[in-house]
């Protein structure tokens, strides 16, 4: 397979994304290196073929957004909404990620080796997220399906208004959000965490994680709840 390099200091982003949407699909190029991203927004968005993209440096908003099938690696940090609405494939951030990482992802795997900001995994719809560090407040807000593995700590209101997504946390949780509760880890949970850690290339004891899921008490209107949530 051929390798191709785009230097964003010399080439416009449009050229990179155009290639990734058209030329990349011909299957001759297996690996694209993106140099000098310099925090540019919307790098490698909307991919839908199994190509490897390596962003050498820091990416801005929505890197790897709506990814399907491709593997996008960011050697630095990523801005808001990395891998938002991912369908499949993998987005791997070696550094830190800003707010809304993996928002509404339907599938695929998002790995963040460092910390993630606010609302990581918000509205998650079936994707998997592994965070090597800690996550900010309101992470997994309204998460519907999929799993989040948090190796560090979580901020306030973790898993607020959760649907069927499941969260695993190793460190401390500042507070759980409305309708989220701790549940015992089963053997399946331990296997799931072990498998996700393995796919993420992170070394932690899967038995050291706690499981958080929905109490399902907000699934239906309830006049007696007094909206104290």
């Amino acid at each position: 397979m051929e390798r191709l390099t785009f230097d964003l200091a010399a080439q416009p982003l449009r050229e990179l994304n155009t290639f990734l949407h058209t030329g990349a699909k011909e299957g001759k190029v297996g690996h694209v290196t993106v140099l000098n991203p310099d925090g540019a927004h919307n790098i490698a968005v909307g991919l839908d073929c199994p190509i490897n993209v390596e962003v050498v440096g820091h990416a801005g908003y929505y890197a790897g957004g709506m990814n399907k099938a491709a593997t996008v690696t960011i050697t630095g940090s990523a801005g808001t909404g990395v891998a938002e609405n991912m369908m499949s494939g993998k987005v791997h951030v070696k550094g830190f990620a800003s707010n809304g990482a993996g928002a509404s992802a339907h599938g695929g795997l998002l790995v963040i080796e460092g910390d993630a900001g606010l609302r990581c995994g918000i509205s998650l719809k079936g994707g998997n997220i592994v965070v090597g560090g800690s996550v900010g407040s309101f992470s997994a807000f309204m998460a519907q399906a999929g799993r989040m593995v948090i190796c560090g700590n979580a901020g306030d209101a973790l898993g607020d208004s959760l649907y069927e997504a499941v969260l695993y946390v190793k460190g401390t949780v500042k507070s759980l959000g409305a309708d989220a509760q701790y549940e015992p880890m089963t053997d399946e949970d331990i296997d799931a965490v072990a498998s996700l850690l393995d796919q993420a290339g992170l070394d932690h004891d899967p038995k050291a994680f706690r499981r958080i899921a929905s109490k399902r008490s907000l699934y239906h209107w309830n006049a007696d709840a007094n909206q104290e949530y």
């Binding site: 808001t80 918000i122 509205s123 519907q144 006049a223 007696d224």
Partner: protein
């Protein structure tokens, strides 16, 4: 002699204005349930609207066109600012965003069939794009909503335009709502939700928080679609002057402004009636914002919320809209609030089913229950059979055709060869309120309240 107190019938039964029978019912209902009322449709209260405006037809000082003979162009271009493939419509009347979930799959298909025949567009809704509506719609606008239910890149690529929904006229500041009885297995799967939950959509987008972020989000959608498709931004009418300016700043090709008469399939009544501003006021503010930025004609404006007739369309266009979007009128054309439904070659009485909902044709707003007696706002396997795509499409096509003929009738009477040449100068207002909101003079005067004499 004994004197009896005199009883005056009208005085002793005087209804209180503040505590009228409706308000008494409201309080009793709140006391009985401890929960607000949720319903469908739009604001029911009396609001200044397009009926409060009239056209100044041609006479001595203007020259009219022959009603049936001379050409009057209705072609409408949307998305000319940045998109490589702007939307070209044959008529400036589009079908507003309504979800599969709120509406049955049959209805979504009917909307597409009729719109395609009339050369106009339909719009998806909260919950994603169904294959039926994509197949039946030549021009389909794909909504990107806060919930992102069913939102995916394949459908982004299949769409003809993308509409980023910030808000809705019936509930600016609120997310969608779909009660459990409508979350059937297909709806649940499309939205990745458990079956039967009372679904409350997010009111904020998950991955951006303000106009500067939105500019980047719009750029992302442009990059994903290789800058081909127009990007619309839809706002519920509130601080419309500022919101339209911010939408333009964010890079929108088209701004959709939805006034408070706009419908909903399920929202708190207090939200429908008390949040947002009337469409009439919103159009003026939106047009002022575009003119202020010198973007009139560069960024197109679609107006929705209570557009019912060809005259409404003409007035919206004269005030400066490029097109309108219709939701409730479209549903009424399909049979909403009708006494009968058409199935197996015959009309069937639906009144008993209305009565079971505690209502009667003409007053029904029970879209939220999913028990639509005429099979429109339902996910029930039996009820949805009451509207077939072909029958619905026929009626909707007739309705859209009528509106378009009325629109051109008025435009010709005002001497316009193109409906987009209608202008505010063609309008006057019948009430001081409408004159002030629409920014056109009170009929017979040159007085626009708020602008001196």
């Amino acid at each position: 002699m004994e004197t009896k107190p005199v009883q005056f019938k009208n005085l002793s039964r005087e209804e209180s204005y503040g505590y009228d029978r409706k308000t008494l019912d409201y309080i009793r209902n709140a006391a009985a349930h401890g929960l607000y009322e949720i319903r469908g449709m739009g604001a029911k209260r009396k609001l200044p609207n397009f009926d409060d405006l009239v056209f100044l037809g041609a006479s001595m000082s203007r020259y009219p066109l022959e009603g049936y003979r001379e050409k009057c162009i209705t072609k409408t271009l949307l998305g000319t600012r940045f998109a490589k493939k702007p939307i070209e419509l044959d008529i400036p009347i589009t079908v507003a965003g309504m979800s599969f979930g709120a509406l049955s799959a049959n209805v979504k298909e009917a909307l597409g069939l009729a719109a395609t025949e009339m050369g106009t567009s339909t719009t998806t809704g909260d919950g994603g794009m169904t294959p039926e509506e994509r197949r039946s719609s030549k021009i389909l606008v794909y909504q990107c909503l806060p919930s992102r239910y069913g939102f995916n890149p394949d459908d982004v690529r299949k769409a003809d335009a993308i509409e980023v929904v910030i808000g809705q006229g019936a509930k600016p500041g609120g997310g969608g709502m779909l009660l459990g009885q409508k979350v059937n297995p297909r709806v649940a799967k499309m939205r990745t939700l458990p079956e039967g939950v009372d679904q409350r959509s997010a009111c904020r987008h998950p991955d951006w928080t303000g106009p500067d972020d939105l500019a980047i989000k719009i750029q992302e959608l442009r990059e994903i679609t290789d800058w081909e498709k127009p990007i619309y931004v839809k706002v519920g009418a509130t601080r419309t002057f500022n919101d339209v300016k911010l939408a333009v700043h964010s890079g929108a090709d088209v701004v959709v402004v939805d006034g408070m008469q706009g419908g909903t399939a399920a929202t708190q009544t207090c939200f429908i009636e008390h949040v947002g501003i009337p469409t009439l006021a919103a159009v003026r503010q939106a047009v002022n914002a575009l003119e202020d930025l010198d973007m009139k004609g560069k960024v197109q404006l679609i107006v929705s919320g209570g557009i019912r007739t060809g005259a409404d369309v003409a007035k919206a266009l004269a005030m400066g809209a490029d097109a309108v979007a219709i939701g409730q009128g479209v549903l009424v054309a399909l049979g909403c609030n009708g006494e009968t439904y058409f199935q197996n070659g015959g009309h069937h009485d639906a009144i008993a089913d209305y009565n079971a909902l505690g209502t009667t044709p003409g007053f029904c707003h029970h879209c939220h229950t999913g028990k639509c007696p005429v099979g429109i706002t339902t996910q029930d396997a039996m009820l949805e059979q009451r509207l077939s795509p072909a029958v619905g499409a026929k009626h909707l096509k007739n309705y859209l055709k009528t509106l378009n003929m009325e629109l051109t009738t008025i435009a010709r009477a005002c001497g316009k060869q193109n409906v987009h040449h209608l202008e505010p100068e063609d309008l006057v207002a019948l009430t001081i309120e409408a004159a002030a909101m629409a920014g056109v003079p009170l009929a017979g005067t040159n007085w626009i309240p708020g602008r001196g004499f």
